[in-house]
Symmetry: C2
Subunit: 234 residues, 2 copies
DNA sequence: ACAAAAGTGTTCGATATACACCCATGT
DNA sequence: ACATGGGTGTATATCGAACACTTTTGT
């Protein structure tokens, strides 16, 4: 899918612009599952405005790239990772919210497997993972964008299989349940959870098992599909 | 909520642009409930490209207005209506899909009460309501945008009360059921439907009734709230 | 032997679905 | 009187929620 145009501007070539257009940026909410909380990747701003404050990673859209591509590029620059789930969230287009001038921001969110080593882009002073309970103040309206992303993710895990993007290739059912609990923010009953997961065809046993400490080994599973699909889970 | 900026471009003022940004347009899928099908408002293009073809109404975002405001303005220009439900859909940002140049389009959808008299904007050759079964070929990638809107609406009526925007102030339960059937594309059982609607607190009787033809008069209802709320309906 | 996490079934209440007849009116 | 849409209840199946003990291992 893609761009378009306007009935009301039917004959106007954008090349013959009557006025300047806003700049277009992308901002990305990059999430991963920590031990007991979701974690979000933030970068510390070097320049004004909001110098020294933490912000969502992002950047301007280049002239010849799609908005989706710009988001994927920024994500790669920050994390270097592949195997991610990246989805457009919402477009924030109020004038005057970026003190430097008019910027329309297309927000995305990404779900990653491991906190991986951070390829801190060198134009940011620092880049770090923050647990949601323990966030610093955010620059611009990035707190609102983050809230929006969390709402979307919490809804979407209930009717899709996108949690696959937060888990490694193989995992135990307890680990899978833990990811749901972290995202949904509530405890789930172990037996009901396993009954539900078993009744859907989301995962299959690999045959292997994991031996941890002094207890019974856990069977390992993998996702049958690592493409996003619609499945009613909760 | 609103715009933002980028960690990777932390110090760059948009005023000091290194390159041109894409134009920003809005396109609106304007829907209403016809007798036996949803109807969408299309405008016939005057100029190239796609001259003479039908397209979604839309236009470019002015420099000092928010993207939401631009959408509301275009909607008003086409229909003159108030009392609408207007929601952002998705941003389409592939380069090269508008033959005239780079245009990023923020798509919206609107739900209207009656097909009202059309205030056909004078820069379009014509504006008309089309039933979904009976669409002409659409310009640009507007068919994809329309599909996206329909998917969103069909999902959203199942867990919100947004159908209020498609109905007049007072209505009968049969009319309400008809709207659901038109959107969902399937027949609903009358008794189960009424049981469900009655168990939620969505509507209340006005006390009045409507006398139509040679049959028992129908009680009239109104929505308790005409603000969008989350309610699991189906 | 014991500590620690893995694994496994049943009961109960609530909700969704299927289904058919009488009511009030206008002509 | 009859044709037309308005209005109503019950029985069954399905699904979600609550709940506790046995198994396998490492030390």
């Amino acid at each position: 899918m893609t761009s378009s145009s306007a009935g009301t501007a039917a004959g106007d070539a954008p090349a013959a612009r009557r006025h300047r257009y806003p700049a277009i940026a992308v901002d990305i909410v990059i999430l991963t599952a920590g031990d007991d909380d979701l974690q979000v990747l933030l970068v510390q701003r070097r320049g004004e405005p909001f110098a020294g404050q933490w912000a969502l990673p992002g950047g301007f859209v280049e002239e010849d790239e799609s908005v989706d591509t710009a988001a994927a590029r920024e994500l790669r620059e920050e994390t270097g990772v592949s195997e991610v789930y990246l989805e457009q969230l919402y477009t924030f287009g109020e004038p005057g919210r970026d003190p430097r001038g008019r910027v329309v921001s297309v927000a995305y969110y990404a779900l990653l497997r491991q906190p991986a080593a951070l390829a801190a882009a060198d134009d940011a002073a620092d880049a770090r993972w923050f647990p949601l309970r323990g966030l610093p103040p955010l620059a611009f309206d990035h707190a609102a964008i983050l809230d929006y992303a969390l709402t979307r993710v919490r809804n979407k895990v209930e009717y899709t299989n996108i949690v696959y993007s937060l888990l490694p290739e193989t995992f135990t059912l307890t680990e899978l349940q833990r990811v749901y609990e972290i995202i949904l923010g509530r405890a789930l009953d172990k037996r009901n959870f396993r009954k539900k997961i078993g009744s859907l065809d989301l995962v299959e046993p690999t045959g292997g098992e994991r031996r941890d400490g002094a207890h019974r080994p856990a069977k390992l599973y993998r996702f049958r599909s690592r493409e996003p699909i619609i499945v009613e889970i909760f």
